[in-house]
Every structure is written in structure tokens, then in C-alpha cells.
């Protein structure tokens, strides 16, 4: 679990690793040669699209039409587009719930899976399957389960006396329903990260708390949770990035509908680019979207720095 700990530490801070010889400057340079092929490919695969996107975003550009330089007009269009503003707001709402729910459930799950019990390894792996399974296939099964008349979920609800829901087929329930699927899918990731944190905790404080006669609940609340908080924050950061750019589940299940009730920024972007082929406009969305993601991550990393000493 050492790996976990310092892997995760890359996210927020640099960690000095004492006891390692410092390589000389020239050797460091030669080590960097190993990175060159990957960098060249990365430049081609990742940097080229970024630069090209910036170029496209200042043009009025539709597939098959001549391109015209229009400066920042695409960005101005975006700010004035109610549909885009709604998509931004929707994305935030979706993200908040799609971060909070998996984090809470995942942390609880990690506390349970940290205990010793028979077949623990297998149980943990089975619990991971939702994040490994192909998202499109999963979305498809949920779509069938959500069927308002014939779906198995409404039947199960009726057994315990809860009235049927229209799930993804109603403007009011579509977002909570998608959050439910996202929670199902990504709770394991939080569980895994927190589990890594739990495994790395020192055992002394727990032993002395037990000797002092603290109850399990007290130990969990006052000792375990504060100690794994840094790991939970890492999970929150990763989850936020992923929830903001969530696509597969939403697109497969609703394609932004009904109406535009589940149209997040990513879906809006997809439709602009590959349904309406407004390449220039879509490129502007990409850049705004990227700024939003980076801003959210920086805010969360800042919060993490602040809370570390609390």
C-alpha cells in the first residue's frame, strides 16, 4: 500500500523520499531520454488537438463550409445561449450528487470491507465489477430495468408499497436516476481508494483506544474517519473530474432527453460537434469545459491543502 500512498500524494504535493541517492544532473538528462518517444506521441495525440481546437474555436466553421475568422464570437454565442447555460448548471447539480453519493456509500463500504471475514478477497473483487464492466452494456441493462410498465425496478418497488417511478422517462426524475446509475458504477472506485487509506493507517492509536474502552462507533467517528480523510479527498477530486465529464451512461440511456432534461455540457458538446457539425462552436465549448474542469480540480486541491492540518 506504500504505492497507493505516494501515488496519491502526486496529486497534491511533492513528497521527498529520503534515503535515495540523488542522481547526477547529466544522468537525469539521460533518463529523460526514455520519456522522449512518449512525449513525441503525446504531443501528436494530445497537444496537437488542443492547439487545433483553439484555432477552430475562433472560426465560424461548419463541416463542408468555408471557414471564416470571427474572433471570440463563438464564446459570446455560448454565453448568450440559454441551452448552454442550462447545461452548465445541470452539470454542476449532477456532479454534486454524483460525487457525494458514491463518496458516502464507498467510504461505508470500505469500512466494512476492511474487516476480516471469509472470502474477503473475492467479495472485494465482485464489488469492483461495476467499474470494470463495459458502461454501454451496463446502461443498456439499467434502461431495461427502468421501463415504466414492464421494468423490474418498478415491480420491486411495488412489493414494498412504493408507487412506480418514470425513471429516465420523466424530466423530473431523469437526473436523480442517472445519478443512481453513476453511483452504482463508481462507488467501487471510492471504496478502493479509501480501502488503500485504511490499510496504511498505523495500528497504535486503535489499540490504545480499545484499551480505553472506546466503542466501535466512537473509534470510527473520532479516529478512523479523520485519519483517512486525505484519501477520501483524493477520491472526491477524482470523482469530480469523472462526474463532470460523464458521457457514456447519459448518452446511451437518454441522449440528453427527455427534451434537454439531462443534457450536460459533454452531451451538449457532442451534439454541437457530431449532430449539428458546428465545429467552431463546439471547439469553444471544449475550451470552456476544460477551464471548468481545471478550476473545479484546483478548488478541490486547495480545499484539501486547507483541511490537511485541521
Amino acid at each position: 500500500m506504500v504505492t497507493t500512498q505516494h501515488r496519491i500524494s502526486w496529486l497534491g504535493r511533492r513528497q521527498a523520499r529520503p534515503g535515495q541517492p540523488v542522481s547526477s544532473y547529466s544522468r537525469r538528462g539521460r533518463y529523460l531520454l526514455f520519456v522522449v518517444p512518449a512525449i513525441v506521441v503525446t504531443l501528436a495525440v494530445i497537444i496537437f488537438p488542443w492547439l487545433y481546437t483553439i484555432y477552430m474555436s475562433v472560426h465560424d466553421w461548419q463541416v463542408g463550409m468555408p471557414r471564416i475568422y470571427i474572433g471570440l464570437e463563438n464564446y459570446a454565442n455560448l454565453i448568450n445561449d440559454t441551452r448552454f447555460r442550462e447545461a452548465v448548471w445541470r452539470t454542476f447539480v449532477y456532479t454534486v450528487f454524483a460525487v457525494v453519493c458514491p463518496t458516502v456509500v464507498g467510504t461505508i463500504a470500505a469500512l466494512f470491507f476492511h474487516q476480516e471475514f471469509p472470502l474477503r478477497g473475492l467479495v472485494r473483487t465482485v464489488y469492483l465489477l461495476p467499474m470494470i464492466a463495459t458502461p454501454v452494456a451496463i446502461a443498456l441493462v439499467w434502461t431495461m430495468m427502468f421501463h415504466p410498465q414492464l421494468g423490474v425496478l418498478n415491480y420491486l418497488l411495488s412489493l414494498v408499497g412504493i408507487p412506480p417511478s418514470r425513471w429516465i422517462y420523466d424530466q423530473d426524475t431523469v437526473i436523480p436516476t442517472l445519478v443512481l446509475v453513476e453511483t452504482w458504477q463508481w462507488t467501487p472506485l471510492v471504496m478502493l481508494i479509501v480501502l488503500g487509506g485504511l490499510a496504511s493507517l498505523p495500528s497504535e492509536p486503535f489499540e490504545s483506544a480499545l484499551i480505553d474502552g472506546a466503542s466501535t462507533f466512537q473509534i470510527t467517528r473520532d479516529l478512523t474517519l479523520p485519519l483517512v480523510m486525505p484519501f477520501i479527498m483524493v477520491a472526491v477530486v477524482l470523482r469530480t473530474i469523472d462526474a463532470l465529464k460523464s458521457f457514456d451512461i447519459i448518452y446511451t440511456m437518454t441522449q440528453g432527453g427527455p427534451g434537454t432534461a439531462s443534457e450536460t455540457i459533454n452531451i451538449y458538446l457532442y451534439l454541437q460537434a457530431f449532430a449539428f457539425f458546428r465545429i467552431g462552436q463546439a471547439s469553444a465549448v471544449v475550451l470552456v469545459f476544460f477551464v471548468i474542469i481545471v478550476a473545479c480540480s484546483l478548488v478541490l486541491l486547495w480545499v484539501r491543502q486547507k483541511t490537511r492540518w485541521a
Binding site: 531520454l33 518517444p37 494530445i46 488537438p49 465482485v126 465489477l129 464492466a133 448518452y251
Partner: protein, 290 residues
């Protein structure tokens, strides 16, 4: 005297109470594990159940849970109605080729970053992870269009590097950092070059890391939907896109839909169960997804 005798009389009672409490706690604990696992198991069970039932049973209400007349008809229909064998072949080629390329480029890169302790480069990998896949797609789409590569597997293999390469670099970085530097140092002192220290010492030692990286790259490339849905043509569709197309065309043929879903996701599920330890190590290290 009186006090001592009551204490003795109480003892078995108290012991029984302690036993009972411990017993109840244990039951409660397993109940909680069951509650946590049940949504996971139910979704996969339901996928399997739907795929094995004829449509009459799939659309019956109340739902039929255990198939009454289990059949493989749905699977046969999937392969018959669309060239699923071709799509499977495409998926295998794209995932394998992009994983191999990721290893060839990513293993040395992870080594270089770990040895040079280049945190800036590591951060760069992280930024690559933060960027939505869609944002690469517009430029790639335009470029492939002008190169005439839009309906080739090459387009998919190249773009899937965006998934595999960061995972590989990230995982390998961790493994090379944890290797004891003394062994390589000794080789270097003996006059071996940096390259042979890497090839003959570091790489063999980091084989477990390469397995982890390869498995994760393969799975996330296999699962990827967004790149293929835009870049793949009729002949180059991968399995996730094929499944999505069935969904949009055949809303209520649930048996075939579930069978298609199972065909796509069963390989990764089986792979995960076979190599569970590696997967857990890798996912913990990376916190990765495509």
C-alpha cells in the same frame, strides 16, 4: 460472603449475554455486506436472466426471475442479425494493438519519469486524464477525415493511445519508484549503460507492473465507447458501438439486447475475476479510468 456468591451466580448469565451480543453483531455485519453487494449482483444477475429467457418471459409482468424455459436463442439471433463476429474481431484488434503500443511507449517513459523524479511530467499525465475524451475527438475527426483514415481501425488504435498511455505511464512510474535502486546502481558501476540497466534489470523486475498496466489498458480500451462511436464506420465498429446501435433500433427485444450486453462485458468480467489481485493493485495505484 454475599457479594462473592452473587458474582459467581451472575457469571454464566453474563457470559451468555456476551456470546449473544457477539453473535448478533456478526449477523448484522454479514447482513450489511449482503446489502452492499446486492445491487451489484442484481444488475449482473438480471443481465444474465434476460439473456437466457425467450421474449415472452422477458416482457411478462410480474417479471420472471429464474428463466422457466432457458434458451440460447437470443445469442444466436445477435450473431445472425448483425456481424457481431466482425465487431468482436475489431474490438480485439484495437484493444490489443493500442495496449501493445502503450507498453512500448509507456514503460520507458514511466522509467524515465521515476528515475529523473520529474514531477512536472507526472502532472502532465494527470492533466491528460482530466481532459474529456470528447475534446480530442473534434480535431481527430477533422484530421482523419482529410487523411481518409476515418473508417479504418488505425484511427481507433491511435486514439485509444489516449486511454492506454497515461494508465501505463502512471502504473509503471509507481513500480519503478518502488524498485530498489541499489541493484541498478551496481550494474551502472560495473560499466553497464543506462539502457542495458533498464532492459536487463529494471524491465524484468517490473514485469508485474507491466501485467497490471496491460490489463488495465486493455479493459479500458475495450470498454471505450466515445471514440469509436464517432470515428468508426460500418465495417470498423467495436462491440460497445454495436451494442448501442442495437439499443437504438430494437427497443423492446430485451433478450437480444441483454445477450449483446453480456457478449461485450463478459470478457472483461471474467478477466477481472481471473486476475483479481493485479486489478486491485493497478486500480488502487492509478485511480484510473479512460
Amino acid at each position: 460472603m454475599g457479594i462473592a456468591s452473587t458474582a459467581v451466580a451472575r457469571k454464566p448469565e453474563r457470559l451468555a449475554a456476551v456470546h449473544l451480543r457477539r453473535y448478533l453483531r456478526r449477523i448484522g455485519f454479514f447482513l450489511c455486506i449482503a446489502i452492499l453487494l446486492s445491487p451489484v449482483l442484481f444488475v449482473f444477475f438480471w443481465m444474465l436472466s434476460l439473456s437466457l429467457k425467450p421474449n415472452v418471459e422477458n416482457t411478462a409482468y410480474p417479471p420472471v426471475f429464474i428463466p422457466r424455459h432457458p434458451t440460447l436463442e437470443n445469442f444466436r439471433a445477435v450473431f445472425e442479425k448483425s456481424p457481431f463476429d466482425l465487431y468482436t474481431r475489431n474490438s480485439v484488434i484495437v484493444a490489443t494493438a493500442s495496449t501493445l503500443l502503450s507498453l512500448i511507449l509507456g514503460v520507458p517513459a514511466g522509467y524515465g519519469i521515476a528515475k529523473a523524479k520529474s514531477h512536472g511530467l507526472a502532472l502532465f499525465v494527470l492533466i491528460a486524464r482530466m481532459t474529456p475524451g470528447l475534446s480530442y475527438l473534434i480535431p481527430w475527426f477533422m484530421l482523419f477525415r482529410s487523411l481518409g483514415l476515418n473508417n479504418t481501425l488505425w484511427a481507433l488504435i491511435i486514439t485509444h493511445l489516449i486511454i492506454g498511455l497515461p494508465i501505463t505511464i502512471w502504473v509503471m512510474m509507481g513500480f519503478f519508484e518502488d524498485l530498489h535502486p541499489e541493484i541498478e546502481e551496481a550494474a551502472l558501476v560495473d560499466g553497464a549503460g543506462i539502457w542495458s540497466a533498464f532492459r536487463d534489470i529494471a524491465v524484468p523486475l517490473a514485469r508485474p507492473g507491466m501485467i497490471v498496466a496491460a490489463i488495465l489498458s486493455f479493459i479500458f480500451s475495450w470498454n471505450n465507447f466515445i471514440f469509436a462511436v464517432v470515428l468508426a464506420g460500418r465495417e470498423t465498429r467495436t462491440l460497445p458501438v454495436a451494442v448501442f446501435n442495437i439499443l437504438t433500433f430494437e427497443q423492446l427485444v430485451w433478450g437480444e439486447l441483454a445477450a449483446a450486453a453480456l457478449i461485450v462485458t463478459a470478457p472483461v468480467l471474467v478477466l477481472t475475476l481471473l486476475v483479481q489481485r493485479h486489478i486491485v493493485v493497478g486500480l488502487t495505484a492509478g485511480g484510473m479510468k479512460g
